[in-house]
């Protein structure tokens, strides 16, 4: 009967709101941002014992609690106007490997979440998708395959052809209907090597040793079409793809991070972050990795960078630092990094700030690069 079927749907809806409305448990112990500091002893632990292996490591690591495929891009449209975009696929394990439910059509041990963001000027469009999967089912609503590389959720996908695995990509993601539709169809091509952020691709995130497996492809050149505000435009520019997985990314004292991925005009790339808490003597944990234009490491390590907010802006009811001083004393680099526009808030289920930035010489305020900044836990 129509009626009973309908009411079932409605019941479900109410239920969902209930799940959604459930308050976080008021545990005295902080859990880090988005639960990323939760104890995860039953999961596989990230360490530096073995080197990364490809193409396997392009694929998912379901024994680890969290993982992402994270693309950011600094582009220009055919009018020369700068445009930033983001596409991220997150994976989160629901259960440790030994507690997985038996495979069945709907049983799930993995939850997938994807974010799509496009920003230009004052405009900032964002969308979010969710899916479930079982790690023993290959073709679900969302998933990732290592070779040929394919990451997808619903109709959003990032794919490589088999002949240039993880070097050439196509990315397609759209959201909304009619005039509200936004999204992109892009071709990405690697112009440099993969970069490992630490010994064997292990990147420590606290002085206690928690950390993640972390590598990047920061040398992407991108062309394609972006649809925004009812218009579709040709775009081109630079992209940065991050790959990271871990079971305990943060320590329980760490409440958030400020993450920079910068393309300097001289061809160098800089990844730098500040984890708030969990550092030496209870301070912040800072890390930087400066790469030469050929991908060789010029500088790597904790403590090699200082990051100081210079100005904050009220965004979504929070004070967000939108101008930063970034210095690498060892290589005599003093930079000012500033958001192109403060309105880059991702109003997703886990909200955060993510947007395109310009990089300037601190002394002359001369533009020397572009990049992306992610700030969480504000």
């Amino acid at each position: 009967m129509n009626h009973s079927r309908l009411s079932a749907a409605l019941v479900a809806m109410a239920c969902l709101m209930l799940i959604g409305c459930q308050e976080p448990s008021s545990d005295a112990v902080p859990q880090g941002f988005a639960g990323l500091g939760e104890d995860a002893a039953a999961f596989a632990q990230a360490d530096a014992s073995t080197p990364l292996r490809f193409p396997e490591d392009h694929g998912p690591h379901p024994d680890y609690r969290i993982e992402w495929w994270y693309l950011t891009a600094n582009l220009e449209d055919d009018q020369g106007e700068p445009l930033g975009l983001q596409w991220t696929l997150f994976r989160q394990a629901l259960t440790p490997p030994d507690e997985r439910p038996a495979p069945s059509p709907w049983a799930a041990d993995q939850v997938w979440m994807a974010h799509l963001g496009i920003s230009q000027g004052e405009t900032h469009a964002a969308a979010e998708r969710f899916a479930r999967s079982h790690s023993e089912h290959a073709n679900g609503q969302a998933g990732v395959k290592a070779a040929p590389f394919q990451a997808w959720i619903d109709d959003w996908s990032l794919e490589s052809p088999s002949e240039a695995n993880f070097e050439d990509f196509t990315l397609q993601a759209y959201s909304g209907e009619g005039a509200d539709r936004f999204g992109y169809t892009l071709t990405l091509s690697a112009q440099g090597p993969l970069v490992w952020h630490g010994e064997n691709g292990f990147n420590a995130k606290t002085v206690e040793g928690q950390g993640s497996r972390y590598y990047s492809q920061p040398f992407l050149s991108i062309t394609g079409r972006v649809t925004l505000n009812g218009e579709t435009r040709e775009v081109s520019g630079k992209g940065w793809l991050d790959r990271e997985w871990s079971s305990q990314l943060l320590s329980q004292q760490q409440t958030g991070w400020d993450w920079f991925s910068l393309h300097l005009e001289d061809g160098r790339k800089l990844m730098a972050y500040r984890l708030r808490g969990g550092g030496p003597a209870g301070g912040d944990y800072l890390f930087a990795h400066l790469l030469a234009a050929d991908g060789q490491t010029e500088l790597i390590g904790p403590g090699s960078v200082t990051l100081t907010p210079l100005a904050t802006h009220s965004v979504a009811g929070r004070d967000i630092p939108t101008r930063w001083s970034l210095t690498l004393p060892d290589v005599n680099l003093q930079l000012t990094v500033e958001a192109r526009h403060p309105n880059r808030w991702m109003p997703t289920s886990v909200p955060y700030w993510e947007g395109d930035v310009v990089v300037r010489q601190a002394a002359t305020q001369e533009n020397i690069g572009v990049g992306y900044l992610e700030m969480t836990g504000y």
Partner: protein, 829 residues
């Protein structure tokens, strides 16, 4: 000083505890009935609100055009194509005779503001083994679990399976278990199939190829459907309240009458009128608190008794689930108290008015009263005329409304009709008494009796008005129910043409049909089918407008069925209608004819799997007990062309066939319980049972109202019994035998009540007509023929007489027992 005055006033009740009892009884009855019905309504509203919380986030639904069930592959294909749909799995569980609905959802894709964030623990618990069963606390009754025991409990479903740990969610509707789709699939043993694919309203502008999109907004919510049912209850309760307040009014009036001397003395002693009025007001407040406390307590008890019947009615009539235990929000308590106090003040306003204008020197004079009453009668006549004009206006307006509308106006019409009749009753009685008086001039005692009843009329008139209202309503409602009963049973006989019926799932029934057809002992198989179709609204330019999902019902148009199948209207006679049904025409049920204002000869445009095309309506059929609109087509057409499913099989077996053997063979061959095959008689019995329960509450309230009216009359008579004794004493002194004196009031009152009963009969018929012709059409979508039951009318008259005699008997008995000495003393004081 006020307190002392109050104490003096209250002292009266110490001498007359009976009056206090009567006052409280009136308040108690009035407030109990009102608050019980309001408790029932509040509980139902709460249940609807919960369902509506879900309804507010209405969903659109996708189904396959080829009629095949949806599967996970459909879901994945559509998701990968970018459609924002969510899978849902629904089924029922039978636990100790209770039917529980299991709803399996995928919280990750459900259209709403879903969040993974905050604490992911709740979501993880929901999504992963051992999963979670979310349910309303009321549902725990099925297992007899307390709220404390419930969280984490895993009640058994059957020998091998248990529910996932329970988690209480008060906002869910009762008897609904919500869980992750993976857990639901395991419990319902459904691997890959889905019940539905849903999406946020308007999220899809077009259905994808091969699918049909049904918009959610076109389905009425239970609140809309049941609105008139609750209005019905409220109207009956209001009636009881009014009648109950008559008692209060009578009791207060009596107390006032007897305290006039005290009041005058108090005023003479220097108590200001304001203080006096305030003291009386305080007295009323005290009674109000006592009465409404009593009333609320018993009202809630009564509601608890009525609720199961109401819940059955609502679920069988509207498929609306109502909580079986009471849920009373704060406004219920405030509302009930306010109504009781408001009613009390209204009933006491006369007393307050008299106390305020108390003439210190005046003496109680019946004749003076009588003159004042003549003026009052004139006002009543005028009032009755005014209200009658209002009733006529409403009737005219209702006549111009399209059928199926104007429930509130109809109740207004009934109320106006009742009020007008009640108001014109005393002038009418007065006129009749005048005539009688002239006619009885040569019979002194009878003449006196008539004059005496005229003298009593001011007091009695209110009680008689109450009696009239109660009698008329009683007659009206019982005729409606009786008429419905006849129509319904007749209809059942015609609809249930096959002697045997088999109910099972469509997948079992389809092969069963072939098997049955092949059996020699089966003379005829008459399968029915169910499905649904989108009805397209066409504008003047024949452009498609809104679409609405309408239920389809399929029958096998063999002579066995068509000979008896009831039809209300046809385009060209019954045979032509049946011939046309097999040739691409459709029948519609009365509900649809009323709601869409369609008649035989009109066309409906349906979106069939083969495309959109018009169908001619060739007949309208009655479809009692179905709250929804329905289109009828032959079973074959429904299955082959509308993607419907076989729903049941009617069976005609050879006369000497062994039914038991057939039953057993069926059970052995197809994995169905022997109970799957039901006798026609059993179905009729069940349907009749549901019908009876549906009207249990109506009957209960109806009876109670009449009881209250009887009490009002008794109260009034008791109130003036003492005064009457004084007058009768004079008669006795004049030589009238005591036996005659005792019987006299019985004749007086009996006559009065009989007259009221006679007036009540046409009024009752008018009410019946309004109920069957207007209110039922609006409330249920069907119109009933107007049946009149002479026997019921006789009973009405007898009831009136019985009530009056019973009420008069007590004072008469008192009179009989009073010693002549005491009687004379009465005359002296």
């Amino acid at each position: 000083m006020i307190l002392r005055v109050l104490a003096t006033l209250l002292a009266h009740y110490r001498r007359h505890p009976g009056q206090l009892a009567m006052l409280l009884l009136g308040l108690w009855v009035a407030s109990a009935l009102w608050s019980s019905v309001q408790a029932v309504n509040a509980t139902a509203k709460d249940s609807y609100a919960r369902a509506n919380a879900l309804f507010s986030a209405n969903v659109d639904e996708l189904t396959r055009r080829d009629g095949q069930p949806l599967t996970r592959e459909d879901y994945l294909t559509l998701r990968r194509a970018g459609l924002p749909i969510s899978p849902m799995l629904e089924g029922t569980l039978q636990i100790d005779g209770e039917r529980l609905t299991i709803v399996g959802i995928d919280p990750l894709t459900l259209p709403s503001d879903n969040t993974l964030g905050g604490s992911g623990d709740a979501l993880t618990a929901f999504l992963t083994p051992p999963w979670q069963t979310q349910l309303a606390p009321e549902t725990l009754d099925v297992w007899g679990l307390s709220r404390q025991q419930a969280p984490g409990a895993t009640p058994a479903v059957n020998k091998n399976q248990r529910l996932p740990p329970l988690a209480l969610r008060p906002a869910l509707p009762p008897d609904t278990l919500v869980m992750d789709i993976a857990a639901a699939a395991a419990l319902l043993d459904r691997d890959n199939t889905l019940s539905q694919l849903v999406t946020a309203p308007g999220a899809l502008s077009q259905p994808p190829d091969g699918y049909r999109l049904s918009r959610a907004a076109t389905l009425a919510s239970p609140e809309q459907l049941t609105e008139s049912f609750h209005l019905n209850l409220t109207a009956l309760a209001l009636l009881s309240l009014v009648v109950g307040l008559f008692i209060v009014q009578a009791a207060l009036g009596l107390a006032m009458e007897q305290r006039l001397t005290t009041l005058r003395t108090l005023r003479a002693l220097g108590v200001p009128a304001v203080t006096l009025v305030t003291a009386i007001l305080l007295e009323l407040l005290v009674f109000g608190v006592l009465g409404s406390a009593l009333g609320l307590a018993s009202g809630i008890w009564l509601a608890g008794q009525l609720l199961p019947d109401v819940a059955t009615t609502l679920s069988s009539l509207y498929q609306a689930d109502v909580n079986q235990s009471l849920v009373l929000p704060w406004h219920y308590w405030v509302g009930s108290l306010a109504i009781t106090f408001g009613g009390l003040l209204l009933a006491g306003s006369g007393v307050l008015w008299r106390a305020a204008r108390l003439n210190v020197l005046a003496l109680g004079q019946s004749q003076a009263w009588r003159l004042a009453y003549q003026r009052q009668l004139k006002r009543m006549t005028l009032g009755a005329a005014a209200v009658a004009v209002l009733a006529m206006g409403l009737a005219l307006w209702l006549g111009r409304l399209p059928p199926g509308q104007g429930v509130l106006a109809s109740f207004g019409f009934v109320a106006a009709l009742l009020l007008a009749s009640a108001l014109c009753l005393p002038p009418l009685i007065n006129g009749v008494l005048h005539l009688l008086q002239r006619w009885l001039r040569r019979h002194p005692l009878a003449h006196w009796a008539v004059a005496d009843i005229q003298l009593q009329l001011p007091r009695l008139s209110l009680a008689m008005m109450a009696l009239l209202i109660a009698l008329a309503t009683n007659l009206g409602v019982s005729s409606m129910v009786g008429g419905f009963r006849l129509t319904f049973l007749d209809w059942l006989d015609q609809r249930l043409a096959a002697p045997l019926y088999i109910n099972a799932s469509p997948s079992t029934l389809a092969p069963m049909l072939d098997w049955l057809d092949a059996r020699p002992d089966v003379a005829e198989t008459l399968p029915t089918a169910r499905g649904s179709v989108d009805l397209l609204a066409m504008d003047d330019a024949q452009q498609q407008g809104a679409r609405e999902r309408i239920a389809l019902f399929g029958i096998t148009p063999n002579p066995t069925i068509t000979n008896g199948w009831p039809l209300l209207e046809t385009a060209a006679g019954r045979p032509a209608a049946w011939a046309s049904l097999s040739a691409n025409s459709v029948f519609i049920n009365e509900q649809m004819a009323v709601a869409k204002q369609l008649a035989p000869g009109d066309e409906v445009t349906l979106d069939t799997p083969q495309g959109t095309r018009p169908f001619e309506i060739t007949a309208v059929y009655p479809d009692y007990g179905n709250p929804r609109q329905q289109i009828l087509v032959p079973t074959k057409v429904l299955i082959q062309r509308f993607g419907g499913e076989i729903a049941s099989i009617g069976l005609v077996v050879d006369e000497n066939a062994d039914r038991q053997a057939l039953r057993q063979a069926l059970a052995d061959r197809f994995d169905v319980a022997p109970e799957a095959m039901v006798d026609q008689q059993e179905i009729k019995q069940l349907a009749t049972q549901i019908f009876e329960r549906t009207f249990t509450i109506t009957r209960a309230l109806n009876g109670l109202t009449l009881g209250v009216a009887a009490l009002a009359l008794l109260a009034t008579l008791l109130a003036q019994a003492r005064e009457r004794q004084r007058q009768l004493a004079s008669l006795w002194a004049l030589g009238v035998p005591r036996k005659t004196l005792t019987l006299l009031p019985l004749f007086q009152l009996g006559g009065l009540a009989l007259f009221t009963g006679v007036v009540a009969i046409p009024l009752g018929i008018a009410i019946t007509w309004t109920l069957v012709a207007i209110i039922n059409v609006a409330a249920f979508g069907w119109r009933l023929p107007l049946y009149l039951f002479p026997w019921d009318m006789l009973i009405t008259l007898a009831t009136a007489l019985g009530v009056a005699l019973a009420a008069a008997a007590l004072p008469s008995l008192q009179l009989w027992r009073t010693s002549p000495q005491a009687m004379l003393n009465q005359g002296a004081t």
